[in-house]
Amino acid sequence: MADLEVPNELRREAKEHDMYLHPIDRDTYELFFGPQHMATENFSIILKMDGNRIEKAIVNPGFLHRGFEKLAEGRPYFTNIALLLRICVPESDVPENIYSMAVDEIVGWEVPERAIWIRTTVLEMARVSAWMFWIMGFGNEIGLYTPGQWAAAYRERFMRLYEELTGGRVYHIYTVPGGVRRDIPGDRWLRQLRDTVEYVKGKMKDFDEILFDNYITFERTEGVGVMDKRFALKHAVTGPNLRATGVPYDVRKDDPYYLYDQLDFEVPVLKEGDSLARVLIRRYELEQDLYILEQLLDMGPPSGPYMVQDARLKALPRFKPPKGDAYAHVESTKGDFGAYVVSDGSHKPYRVHVRGPSQSHGVTVLEELLKGARLADVPVILKTLDNCPPDIDR
């Protein structure tokens, strides 16, 4: 492969096309890691390898770009929910909520308490099911398939609850500006949720035993992909990845939304900043999220309407908020997920800009962390950063 002669004009053309493509020495080889690969989800990394070590990594995203921000400018406010939630597939409630929060702020709606409770619960359920998904992904990357199979099966219980609450399995299209679209389908649903939380809580011991306590998990993750506090802050790394470097920043505590200032939960922080720290933080947060769900259930949904009462909602397609802009963000399992919505007073948003957490830790940070890593560490770093390609592409 390395013996092919490439004419100079071709090199020049390639350089013009992509200015950071450099000719590569003959001792090294390069790997196209993805998009057709088990570890990346339609995401490509070009690796310049020197033996078993990575000399240089270049992220090549864009396989999932659909132009959401442009599409959102052409659709009315409410229908954008059906569109924007596709930005983050494993926890599609997060984009729904940030967009709804931003529009709520622009309009100045006070969302009914019942809706707030439902939204908080839905977000926490999304977090738990995304953790389950992450356990599967992480297990598969390091070659331990057993806990992933369990986790994906337990996640299905949450999917069933979602189905009953919202009418959809993955894309719920549930949280809308001003409230939620449906009421809770009775006390049975709450009982089922409590049972599910109890069930998953009981299964946490199994995950600990097989995955988190496992000697080889430690071997694989300890000292891999280390970043320090300053680096993380400068690169705007958020969420568990930031907390693993020693910064106790959690949107739910620092910029509390919904019911989070009334809930009791802890923010785990470690100092090492390596993959192991990120794994441990995630494990602890899963426990905390189950605990939050229990608290929410103890609180019980307040009575009242689940949608704001507003005459403007009669003509839904023509609903016009006042001029203004707002930024809302929530804590997703991947980090700080934010949306910036600008309204010019018409029935379509003037600009919607979504900040996916992977945008900051999926490109530059990933490239930096992969430098000098072994080939076998690539999936570990990818998964402990919890890189979500649609966040980057949108």
């Binding site: 009418g167 894309y171 496992n214 505590k253 200032d261 923010v267 494990r283 602890y284 397609p317």
Partner: protein, 211 residues
């Protein structure tokens, strides 16, 4: 605006010793116990799973009460709905394209008369040829008929088995129980078509070649 309302909630940082766990060579062996437990697998398609009540599936339409207001067409994020004028109907009815529909059911929410509804049906499997894909574009049928078919067959399949396109804009829906719905499409859009002029022939360039 309450500026100084709540002080910044203290971040309760948990001690490192609680987050850390001990590594072990022996503990993973506990996982083997599941070898002798019953699997959690639901054996589809031999075991049936009922979708949740009010699962957002295919649409239903009561042709009698539909007033043809096009609210559904306006709210649709995918522009999957097209108002269709049919012979014998005073108002246009929505024609829904499942090649676009995202099953958000905003159209059902805004329907002023409740004519447009949805059922829990979600199975629609076809071949990949152009004539098979015709099935994805239909005017929904009456909810009672859908319910009747569901009860008869006990699954949640698409009620129409085949859509036959006759000339002159005449469509025949062959339902699963063998009955047929036949109607003539006069035109599309909000305004009534000027004359009962036939729909332009379905384009042939776009599809996969036929054997």
């Amino acid at each position: 605006m309450k500026m100084e309302s709540v002080e910044k909630p203290r971040v309760r940082v948990v001690g490192e010793e609680k987050v850390r766990i001990k590594k072990s060579f022996i503990k993973p062996w506990m996982g083997v116990k599941y070898l002798f437990r019953k699997p959690v697998t639901i054996k589809i398609p031999f075991e049936k799973i009922e979708p949740a009540p009010k699962y957002r599936g295919f649409h239903t339409l009561n042709w009698k009460t539909c007033v043809g207001c096009n609210f559904c067409g306006q709210i649709c994020p995918a522009r999957a709905i097209e108002m269709t004028w049919m012979e014998g109907e005073k108002r246009p009815h929505p024609k829904i394209d499942y090649g676009r529909c995202t099953f958000c059911q905003f159209c059902v929410d805004v329907c002023p008369t409740g004519a447009l509804g949805f059922s829990e049906n979600f199975y629609l499997t076809t071949g990949g040829l152009e004539e098979d894909l015709e099935l994805y574009d239909w005017v929904p049928i009456h909810p009672d008929k859908v319910r009747e078919l569901n009860e008869k067959f006990g699954d949640y399949r698409f009620p129409v088995e085949r859509i036959e396109k006759k000339g002159d804009g005449v469509y025949v829906y062959h339902l699963r129980d063998g009955s047929r719905i036949e109607f003539k499409i006069l035109g599309y859009g909000l305004r009534p078509p000027a004359a009962a002029k036939p729909k332009p022939a379905a384009k042939s360039s776009g599809g996969a070649p036929k054997e």
